[in-house]
Symmetry: C2
Subunit: 367 residues, 2 copies
């Protein structure tokens, strides 16, 4: 009996070391012992420092289970894995591949609690560094102070992507790689202004980077001496709630609509088509993100944030911070200071933007 207990306990340590954190109840079933017996084993193993118990799971201490001795492993904690983040992941993979590193993905579904949990889970599993896009307050674009305090205490080198830490908070000491969404939006608005548009509507989702996009729109119109563009929010994501408001601004004289993002722009195309409004002859339309903009039935002029480059540079940087950079892709000249890198989106002009329609002659207004 004494020998069997010892064997079982050694097996528990082996399982968590080789397979990572285990659910305690399932582990009891697997070992064919009662929950009480397993709890006693775990209490003993935790007391001698062989494992760690947390929230009903058994976690390894000591040697990481997912990272080999030569291959650094980077955890990637993103709000989702599709649409925009697909590009981030592609760039991250390229950098990891070039450095012989491994990537592990955790998805947070835009929930701050979940992203902290994912980060801690990956650290427990032995990742050498993290690349994260934590979820800010969508109204302000800033992370919440309590969230910053927790993120600043993660125990491995961490680089944020597509997120701005408050300059006055502790996360400002973490490296960031961002698309400069304010500049991107301004470039888009300037394109419309240079075509001759003066009355522009902005149709916007509510997302983590919407405040920066809005800020860029306001700055560019102020810079051009125009009134602020009229801003219409999408409402419930994926809904047609904004449809009537957009059509009304066009009736009132708007000649161009800036849409953040592409997904919403493809909806707006339908709204306009259904209302018999031709793109771009009657209304110019410009998209943002450039994930699906080129595939719309009227290929959309759009701003293309450098998603792949953001993902690539974030992984290169976190590898350098981990000391795991062996590839020449990581510049040996990068110094020690915390880096906040912003990369400016590119404008891709396609078929959805042109010079504004002639304004109706004043006599037409009364017909």
């Amino acid at each position: 009996m004494a020998r069997s207990v010892e064997e079982r306990r050694r097996r528990i340590v082996d399982i968590v070391a080789q397979e990572g954190p285990q659910n305690a109840r399932r582990l009891a079933t697997r070992l064919g012992v009662s929950a009480v017996t397993l709890r006693r084993d775990l209490e003993h193993l935790a007391s001698v420092g062989s494992i760690r118990r947390r929230h009903g799971t058994v976690e390894p201490l000591g040697a990481p289970s997912i990272a080999g001795p030569d291959a650094p492993t980077i955890g990637l904690v993103l709000p989702e894995s599709n649409y925009y983040y697909d590009g981030i992941i592609a760039g991250a993979k390229r950098a990891a591949g070039a450095a012989g590193a491994k990537l592990v993905l955790g998805v947070s579904d835009y929930r701050p609690e979940k992203e902290i949990h994912q980060a801690e889970r990956l650290i427990t599993k032995g990742v050498d560094g993290l690349v994260m896009a934590p979820t800010p307050d969508f109204a302000t674009g800033w992370l919440v102070p309590s969230q910053e305090e927790r993120l600043a205490q993660l125990r491995v080198p961490t680089v944020f992507v597509e997120r701005t830490a408050s300059p006055g908070g502790p996360c400002a000491l973490l490296d960031t790689v961002n698309s400069a969404h304010d500049v991107g939006a301004a470039v888009g608005l300037r394109h419309l202004i240079q075509l001759g548009h003066r009355r522009i509507t902005a149709l916007m989702i509510s997302g983590p980077n919407s405040p920066w996009v809005r800020e860029g729109l306001l700055q560019a119109s102020a810079h051009a001496g125009l009134e602020d563009p009229q801003i219409i929010m999408e409402g419930t994501p994926g809904s047609d709630e904004a449809r009537a408001a957009v059509l009304q601004t066009i009736e009132d004289g708007t000649t161009a609509v800036f849409v953040h993002n592409d997904q919403l722009a493809t909806r707006a195309i339908l709204w306009l088509e259904d209302a018999g409004i031709s793109i771009p002859d009657e209304v110019s339309l410009i998209g943002y993100d450039d994930v699906i903009a080129g595939m719309a039935d009227v290929p959309l002029t759009a701003l293309d944030p450098p998603k792949r480059e953001v993902g690539r540079r974030a992984v290169e940087r976190v590898l350098a911070l981990c000391g795991g950079a062996t590839s020449s892709a990581v510049s040996p000249a990068d110094g020690g200071a915390t880096q906040h890198i912003r990369l400016v989106p590119e404008l891709h002009v396609r078929q959805s933007t042109t010079v504004p329609r002639e304004p109706p002659r004043s006599s037409d207004c009364r017909r």
Copy 2:
């Protein structure tokens, strides 16, 4: 006579090609001809495209005079060459040296007209790219829109250092390398807060980056749930105008003074010493820039913006944009997007900061 005219004209072309732009009047003196004769020569030479005349100077057209075929030349247009910019220049030199490039310096004395003139002069002389610190509005930290329009039209790759272009303006499409002065100021304020200081005065110069320093101070105190620090401006640079105001805040209960910049901090040390106030026992003092902070009689805790790294990376980047990068110091992995890089200053803790003095017992207040 005809032959002598031809010879003289060939000599004029040679002089401007070899020595760069020439003042027309001095050129006439040098050639021993009258102003009228020289003007006729210049009119002829300009009409056949051998030289260009502008604002009383004669400029070369054609082959650059300062750049050899293999050595790219970078113009460095800075407001001054001493104090802070000494570090920028040192970093720029290192990067240029590593790439076999040449640097040419132009100083603007913080005058926007002069910096545009310096930039255009260097371009005329054949520089392949520019690194500039244009002079913003000291009250806002932003470049003036008309100035941005001109800077955005410079005809060679240009990288700004220590300057932020408005996201809504045309210069946002230029690369920038900056110290994150807002984050640096916040790190300094947090150091004081962590020591236990609650009543903090900020003593500030009026300079191109002062608005960002102020912003960081306000953000950090808001983040810590404190009232805004009291901000005292220096007044006339180099004066003692702020002295009485600073001493008054200390009498009123301030236990720490954040000083932007070092030069002003060394003055403040004298003010406190003369008033019999001991640093750091009675008042903690923290400097900014870390150029001379370590040499003060009480060695100052100070924020150190990564001046050398800013200069180095700006030159590396402009060389990459010129296509003149041959050194491995320029990462081949840098992509094509415009980059805005912010590097976070480091805190160097020395002897001028400590825990706050005991507050006077309430009974003491009435003595």
